[in-house]
Amino acid sequence: MGGYMGKVIRVNLTERSVKVEALDLKMAQKYLGSRGFGVKVMLDEVPAGIDPFSPENKLIVATGALTGAPVPTSGRYMVITKSPLTGGIATANAGGFWGPKFKSTGHDAVIFEGKADKPVYLYVEDDRVEIKDASHLWGKRVTEVTEALQREHEGANVLSIGPAGEKLSLIASIMSDLDRAAGRGGVGAVMGSKNLKAIVVKGSKKVPLYDEERTKEVSQEKVKILRDDPVAGGGLPTYGTAVLVNIINESGVFPVRNFQYSYTDKADLISGETMTEKYLVRKAACYRCPIACGRVVKLADGSVVGGPEYETIWAYGADCDVYDYDAINEVNYLCNEYGIDTISAGATIAAAMELYEKGYIKDEDIDADGLSLKWGDPKAIVGWTKKIGLREGFGDKLADGSYRLAESYGVPELSMTVKKQELPAYDPRGIQGHGITYATSNRGGCHVKGYMISPEILGYPEKLDRFTLEGKAAYAKLFHDLTAAIDSIGLCIFSTFGLGLPDYVDMYNAVCGEVYDEKGLLEAGERVWNLERLFNLREGIDSSQDTLPKRLLEEPIKKGPSKGHVHQLDKLLPEYYEVRGWDENGVPTEETLERLGLKEYKKYLSLATE
């Protein structure tokens, strides 16, 4: 069987021990790898109810069977842990080159357990796996850490946390290759809680291929599809993900001022077109990616750094009512340097601005910081980002995300979150199907686990009316399951701008062996989704959290093209549970678990209904 390297590293940081275990190939195949592998390990090995920052929590960094294989967009890896932000499962994905480089050491995944008594990093060079002292790197920003470790280990790739992860910010990310982020769910804080600063990798092994000829043939075919696709081979590489700014705004679903409005006449100031014209230095591609949606931009001081994605531009831009590209490029760079999730950070500052506007946060609360919380202030977004990264002054409160901030003033409803994680850049009141994916996403407010924007706004793979409800629950389930499969095999979800289920089956089977048909691969995704749901239910995250902020359910959009709409979750949610094979409380039925080969997890069903 190809695809898998067949080995998993297990590091116990408390004992400072390293073990290399054989990957259970049958298990890997059933759960695909990456996200599926990690969630299974979390459910099987981590006891219920633990504190995410306790040594009992595990931090898993896992690749998929296709990560590093010679097929397009195979540069992805996943970080899986119990999220300190949501209390549920965290699955944070990143591209770049680190994932394939890690896999080239001959390992599929690394599981961290326990907690080191002082800062350490893990060095993996093929079969050599060592825990090394990182005291000299503690407190350092991502570029400094990366450069120092690359001086010590020439040619290695570095994954690390920044100061935000060390200081246990609940919105801290894990960074790799300087500017690729496993961003969401506070995974960087879990790494920080373990005193683990970095994972440095250098390898020489190739991913084994079941059928080399077929892999080559299939790969060429899929690359061609992506190159010929008008999005994957056109709009996305030309303008980056920021190309969405205008279409989302023109559709009246571009949240402004913490979702108080959904349209701005200033969107073009922060659009992909404007970035390309004024700030773009060059494009950047991840490992084996024919799309190259990454941006490299010039900051106001002339330095050349990784550029912001659409979501970042929205969170720090329209959501804070800021339309200053220099400031947005700078905060994106700062988030990468401090290791902060850009979506949650920008959206938390936006929530703070609304709390200030409404008089909850007073001038005396922030006077000592010398920064304002006024809408539209570019200096504020830059200044607060630094203070979040260091937990300085009022930044200490912002560092735990908008839910805990708003709750501390008695108004949690002003936090635009699902399961305490900040929503991304689309107002679901005008995109009904997207709203159901927000409400039900296992990792909380999130757009990348079921991107209904594709059919409801962008017309991919077909156009759906964004205001209607019919068929949306089933569509959302399909997108959730397909995305879980793509994540778990180790490919990039942007490949769906061109590729479909049969293409993923072709690639998986060529690399791994004739294992899956279309139904089977999609069902494997569904298995992963249900496993995440069981994890969350076990942790007490039940259907009461499958909801949206009150504003999106009760306050109609005030102006613009989607004026008058609210999200009709009450109509969609029961249907979603039904198409999932869950009961009316959102708990998978025994039949569903049996159908998916998850019988062994029936024990969690009684826990969920207790």
Partner: protein
């Protein structure tokens, strides 16, 4: 005659403009406007009429806003 604001995005702007108010005859459709702009209708992916996508055969009226996008994606 009616006045319609036409907004262009991505590469449709090349050699043209970002937004402009244009005058058309009563009964003009989005298709007619696309033809007038010398854009190949097959290249248009999203035909927003006052922010709502739909067929290019829709008629426009005075004060309407048309936003035209080629295929784009991201996230």
């Amino acid at each position: 005659m009616i006045k319609v604001e036409v907004r262009l995005f991505a590469y449709f702007r090349e050699g043209r403009w970002k937004r402009k108010v244009l005058e058309f005859e009563d009964g003009t459709t989005i298709s007619d406007i696309i033809k007038y702009l010398n854009i190949d209708e097959d290249e248009v992916s999203m035909f927003l009429l006052n922010g709502v996508d739909g067929p290019a055969s829709r008629k426009v009226k005075d004060g309407d806003v048309i936003s035209l996008f080629p295929p784009i994606g991201g996230g």
